[in-house]
Amino acid sequence: MAVAQWVKTLTFYEILVGMKATITVLIDRIVLRKRKAVTLQYPHEKRALPGTYRGMIALLKYDDDTEKCVGCDLCEAACPSRVITVISSEVEGEPMKRYAKEYYMDMTRCLFCGLCVQACPVDALAMTTEYEWAKYNKRDLRLNKEQLLALGDRNFPVREKKLEFQHPNVAYFNIGHKNLPPKES
């Protein structure tokens, strides 16, 4: 036993085993062509992103080109990084209905947790699969409402239908949402 150990030490057995492992990988890669690099040459080839990818956040519209956002500020409240600033305002002549007069997202602080999307009662926010948003000026990453709506238009060309029974003067919530909390009975 001790002799075998000595022989192993003297012949650098363990180092040779390790060197065999590395050279096997090289031969498989270069000579036998059995292995492939795990590298993805990023700017030239890109990963297929899952549908649930949490990229840039976008504001959505209904199919009649009206904004979904009702200016409720819940996203601002939900945001852990204080990314969102909503300046809510009444719709002119319709005192029951509100909308976001101004809507800002400071994407430099965003951690893409998706809490704002969950918090939105009318599904006005969505997460896109866009991620190549490197900018030379960080102020370019403070997005206003137009930019966020453009993001939504670009990534979600199929818009949700505005439901018939929604009275224009009544604040409504997204009834179509599948995961409503159970009502207290």
Binding site: T22, V25, L26, R29
Partner: protein
């Protein structure tokens, strides 16, 4: 006239050798990255040129145009001197390495040896002496940077180089006993006539060869003995404060040292330019091509071994390095000298 021809021939030889060495240094950096990436399921550089083959040129241009920073607290003179002190000894050693057969050609009445810049009779001592000066570059660079990481890297390098240079010196003594000469040319010539005449096999210098190889890796500060540079502990060791061309000097010195050490290993243990079979395949006029080719193959095999070791082994701890150097390698090298001397004494009689 004779003086002029002699000087001209020397200048030509130096230019060719320096050109080849610098080119090899440049493309070794690429080769290392490629080999490492192939062993690690990666791709390595792929952007500059086809399959990244022009990467060394891009690296060179980048380093050349980078800002040259000297830290405020640094000793300016030593800080500037250190990279030169590191680079020059690395390149100067190539002067005594025989690249091909020991031919002599007559040119305007002057005898010229085309495959060695100069054949001095203490060639191997000369290389060892200059290799030690290279350590000064590392130590001074580490001290002059006025940075704790640099200083630690420099001190580690000092300790490492001293302990492992001793082993290199003792390991090659067996070879010197066998060939009875310190001249690189004579050592290579004595090993002619097939691989069974090489010092590694015919001279039974296997222990010395292993000791030399391990010490050479340690001497060039390569993994697994890259303690002076230890990225995870010392940022970049003695190179932490260096940038631009000064950093490039250290970098080139490291790779030039690798080539030099590989050249010495192939000359001392693997017969240098001698083919592993007796004589040459090509006719006598062209046999030098074969010699140079074999030398190149041997040197590149050693260089590949350097990359291979780097891809395989993790870094040693400092006490392990010292223990291994003094308690394992030194006795082995000394034992090799004793046994070789006894064998040579009885065989020669």
């Amino acid at each position: 006239m004779e003086m002029l021809v002699f000087a001209g021939a020397a200048v030509v030889k130096i230019t060719v050798v320096m050109g080849v060495v610098l080119l090899t240094v440049a493309f070794l950096t690429l080769a290392e990255r490629k080999v490492l990436s192939w062993m690690q399921d990666r791709m390595g550089p792929m952007e500059v040129g086809p399959y990244g083959t022009l990467q060394p040129i891009a690296d060179g241009i980048k380093l050349f145009f980078k800002e040259d920073i000297i830290p405020a607290g640094a000793n300016r003179f030593l800080f500037s001197l250190a990279p030169i002190l590191s680079l020059v000894p690395a390149f100067i050693g190539f002067a005594v390495v025989p690249y091909g057969p020991n031919r002599e050609i007559e040119l305007f009445g002057v005898t010229i040896k085309p495959f060695i810049i100069t054949d001095i009779n203490i060639g191997i001592l000369y290389i060892l002496a200059f290799a030690s000066i290279g350590a000064y570059g590392v130590i001074l660079g580490g001290w002059a940077s006025n940075n704790k990481y640099s200083l630690l890297g420099g001190l580690r390098s000092a300790a490492q180089v001293i302990s492992y240079e001793l082993n290199i010196g003792l390991a090659i003594i067996g070879v010197l006993i066998l060939s009875g000469s310190l001249s690189m040319v004579t050592i290579a010539e004595k090993q002619a006539g097939g691989f069974w005449h090489w010092n590694l096999i015919g001279g039974l210098q296997i222990v010395a060869f292993v000791v030399y190889l391990i010490s050479a890796v340690a001497e060039t500060n390569r993994l697994p003995f890259d303690l002076p540079e230890a990225e995870s502990e010392l940022v970049a060791g003695w190179m932490t404060e260096y940038s631009g061309m000064r950093f490039a000097f250290f970098f080139m010195a490291e790779y030039a040292n690798m080539i030099l050490v590989s050249c010495i290993a192939s000359v001392l243990f693997l017969g240098g330019y001698n083919a592993p079979y007796p004589g040459t395949l090509l006719p006598d006029k062209l046999s030098w091509i074969e010699g140079v080719a074999w030398f190149t193959v041997k040197v590149y095999a050693f260089l590949f071994l350097f990359f291979w070791l780097r891809a395989t082994l993790p870094r040693l701890r400092y006490d392990q390095l010292m223990r291994f150097g003094w308690k394992v390698m030194l006795p082995l090298a000394l034992g090799n000298i004793v046994i070789t001397s006894i064998v040579v004494y009885f065989v020669r009689r």
